[in-house]
């Protein structure tokens, strides 16, 4: 994947320095949020199990920077990055992950089930492959609403092998709806390699093309490349040409879930991907070299984000747990 777009090109696409600072802030928020969870999970205080998005920040932010709150996304079990990129409240997310009463989903859903309809985030999902058909539904709604909005599914390379995903791809083509299928290929379906599990030699974009839709490829570990290619894709979809797909090549810096001993990794693999494919490092290097942003500006973003995460954890730890009597609330709207 060549994927090394010029930041000035991105700027030419309408990106002003403030937007770039915003993009950096969002990526850094995801990074620090996840790094901090990695530490906090070890204390055992956070219930359940958690799948970290670290390493894939450029994918979520490069995609969602094109979306408004009226565009719909559906996410996966590895969904924290999508939530942050789409604008979910970081402190409320942290509280949710800690299982607190004022978490984003009142402590009922946890890490795998974060949703916030007010920003067009239709939900993370514990079932691999469940999201793509829902994005088709959201696209049907968006088409009916007639405001040029879209329905977008984030799926992993694992989900691209589910029948539900195949059905969704075909249905979107048949209905010619503004659905976007973003396949983040991080090379692992849980603990199995993509080279084994995806029968097209790991190629997901060509599979989407075989369903009759246009598909793009981009470097999902590079913000500028992802942003640029997504721009083209969305121009195409928003023009009423029907669905489209994109395969983003990226990396998962941690295991499938927190606690995964990751014995399937090769020697030095984690060091290599962290050195060669860190979206934050490459972003910083390039905007500083191109003199679009200065190190000091970025450093101050870093410390602001660090402060935000520090507060989010402290507030989440101090937040009250849900009232056990509320366990039967919210099963129905009316019953």
């Amino acid at each position: 994947m060549d994927g090394q777009s010029n930041p000035r090109e991105a700027k030419g696409n309408g990106m002003e320095p403030t937007d770039l600072i915003g993009a950096y802030r969002r990526m850094q928020t995801i990074r620090m949020f996840e790094e901090r969870l990695h530490d906090e999970i070890k204390t055992g205080e956070i219930p359940g199990f958690t799948h970290l998005y670290c390493g894939q920040e450029a994918a979520a932010v490069g995609v969602c920077d094109h979306l408004s709150v009226d565009d719909y996304i559906v996410s996966t079990h590895r969904g924290h990055g999508h939530c942050i990129a789409k604008g979910c409240d970081v402190k409320a997310m942290m509280k949710e992950i800690y299982g607190r009463a004022d978490g984003l989903c009142k402590g009922r859903g946890g890490s795998m089930h974060i949703a916030d309809l007010s920003v067009g985030m239709l939900g993370a999902n514990g079932i691999v492959g469940a999201g793509a058909p829902q994005a088709v539904g959201a696209a049907i709604a968006a088409k009916l609403n007639g405001k040029g909005r879209i329905g977008l599914a984030f799926s992993g390379d694992g989900a691209c092998n589910q029948g539900t995903t195949f059905e969704a791809l075909n249905l979107a083509v048949v209905l010619k709806v503004p659905a976007v299928f973003v396949f983040e290929n991080n090379h692992y379906s849980e603990h199995t390699g993509v080279a084994y599990a995806v029968g097209t030699s790991g190629d997901i974009a060509s599979r989407a093309e075989a369903f009759g839709m246009k598909a793009w490829r981009a470097n999902g570990s590079d913000y500028f490349d992802t942003y640029k290619v997504m721009g083209e894709l969305l121009d195409y979809v928003r023009a009423g040409n029907g669905p489209a797909a994109i395969e983003l090549d990226t990396e998962r810096f941690y295991g499938h879930f927190e606690g995964d001993p990751q014995r399937y990794r090769g020697p030095g693999e984690l060091d290599r991907i962290r050195t060669e494919r860190d979206a934050l490092v490459s972003f910083r290097t390039r905007v500083v070299e191109a003199q679009i942003l200065g190190s000091t500006e970025l450093d101050s973003v870093d410390s602001e984000v660090a402060q935000l995460i520090e507060e989010a954890v402290a507030e989440a730890r101090a937040a009250p747990p849900p009232d056990p009597a509320s366990v039967t609330d919210d099963v129905y709207v009316e019953y």
Binding site: D39, K42, G44, E258, G259, D260, P261, R263, A325
Partner: protein, 470 residues
């Protein structure tokens, strides 16, 4: 100042609850580089190495090799440089280990406390909009209970008739049977109850042919084996001979024994000379049966309770506790109750003297002795003569109801059938409970209908409130 971090037991997989430190691979205070192997941890699933995530050192190692620690437990203190003892102690003191146990393994969530019912002086009005069933409302009003003191068991706390019944009834003190020693397992394919019975009756399950699905040995199979190997006592029923003028073929002629002749003569005389009238009544039996079921150890028979109930009712209505001798009525001070006992030779009516003064357990013991002597033909004359009242119970044969012939010179006899489940009206609702059908035969020369009715009422009250019997 060095930056200190807790080093805790990792959670590898959602079902991991603890791990054992197999080995520390670094020494306390020895610096290590990122990627160095720090420790080996064993779980019941895997043994895995823990690598250093950054350069540093353990300034304090707390966990011992070979010992198991729960997930999240503090194993050591990590530092990026040298640290003072105070700093380390402060971190250890401030470390808060989270609850990482599996939900419910320990005490777990408790049942939400039910609102306890308490007697409230003036029964408050039923609030408008209270979720309550129509039958429950009716019962609530008639029982004068406080609706606020009743925890509804229906959807959204709706009060059901059963809830009101429960609040209205006195608490029961359930007699407990307790735990049994476990029945040893057996390779034989048998139901749990079959295993238990085979132990109780010392019958081997081996070789029994099961009548259950796929040849499973069932309760009935064990009981059949028990009755085969340990014959039951001879049937207590009296043989009834058809009077036959001549011996037709296929008919056996049995001459009447002298005892039979006496029975025949007395009952014929009774039925033809005494003006019988009959008073019948249904009485709910559930409480009496429950009281009896709760008895530990030797349980009195249902009949023993009925003897006691009849005796007390006779004390309340002495007009029935009589013998009729010509133009004189002999009213008895105590209830001497003749109880019909079937023997091989025929009906005998041994007498429980002063049953009103005996406990049910005493009655039970006395009856057992009398019945045994009756069947072995060893009753003393005084044990079968006299009596102020008779009781005949054919419930053991499944008879639902019958009328008895008065045993002269007594004035009345009570006939009792089996307790059969039947619907009864219970505070406005139908309940299905075991019910006795009682029939009192009275000598109208000495006893009037009102007396009989009073007696039956007293008797019914006692049977329905059986705690009064003891």
């Amino acid at each position: 100042m060095a930056r200190l971090k807790p080093f805790t037991m990792p959670k590898w997989g959602i079902e991991m609850s603890e791990g054992t430190i197999a080995e520390w691979l670094v020494q306390e205070n020895a610096p290590f580089a990122k990627g160095a192997l720090l420790t080996l941890i064993e779980t019941d699933k895997i043994t895995n190495e823990v690598e250093a995530e950054a350069d540093g050192r353990f300034v304090r190692i707390l966990a011992k090799e070979g010992e198991a620690y729960p997930v999240g437990a503090l194993l050591a203190v990590l530092s990026d440089g040298e640290a003072t003892g105070d700093e380390i102690d402060a971190l250890i003191a401030g470390f808060r280990q989270a609850d990482t146990s599996f939900t419910g393994d320990d005490e777990g969530g408790a049942t939400p406390p039910a609102v306890q019912t308490a007697p409230a002086p003036p029964p408050p009005a039923i609030p408008d909009g209270l979720a309550i069933s129509p039958a429950a409302r009716e019962r609530l009003v008639s029982a004068g209970l406080d609706p606020n003191a009743i925890a509804g068991s229906g959807r959204d706390g709706r009060i059901t008739a059963q809830d009101v019944d429960q609040a209205a009834r006195p608490a029961v003190d359930t007699a407990l049977v307790g735990a049994f020693p476990p029945t040893p397992d057996s390779k034989v394919f048998a139901s749990p109850m079959a295993r238990r019975l085979s132990m109780i009756h010392s019958v081997s399950l081996e070789g029994l042919s099961g009548t259950g699905p796929r040849g499973r040995v069932r309760k009935v199979d064990v009981l059949a084996e028990v009755s085969r190997t340990k014959p039951a006592p001879p049937p207590a029923q009296a043989a009834v001979a058809q009077p036959a003028p001549a011996a037709a073929s296929g008919v056996e002629v049995i001459p009447m024994s002298s005892m039979r002749k006496t029975i025949a003569k007395r009952l014929a005389e009774s039925k033809s000379t005494i003006p019988h009238f009959y008073v019948r009544r249904r009485v709910r039996a559930d409480r009496l049966l429950a009281l009896r079921a709760a008895v530990q150890g030797q349980r009195p028979s249902v009949n023993d309770y009925l003897i006691k109930a009849a005796a007390l009712a006779l004390m309340e209505v002495p007009q029935v506790n009589i013998q009729v001798h010509g133009n004189a009525i002999h009213r008895f001070e105590h209830a001497d109750i003749a109880v019909a006992v079937a023997t091989e030779k025929g009906l005998l009516t041994p007498i429980i003297t002063s049953a009103d003064r005996m406990s049910v357990a005493d009655i039970s013991a006395a009856m057992a002795g009398l019945a045994q002597r009756a069947r072995s033909n060893r009753l003393k004359p005084e044990e079968i003569s006299g009596g102020s009242f008779s009781l005949s119970n054919l419930g053991g044969f499944g008879v639902e109801q019958f009328d008895a012939i008065i045993n002269p010179p007594q004035g009345a006899i009570l006939a009792v059938g089996t307790a059969r489940p039947e619907p009864i009206a219970d505070e406005g609702a139908f309940r299905i409970v075991p019910v006795f059908h009682l029939s009192l035969s009275c000598d109208h020369r000495a006893i009037d209908g009102a007396d009989a009715g009073k007696f039956m009422q007293a008797l019914a009250n006692l049977i329905e409130a059986p705690e009064l019997l003891d």
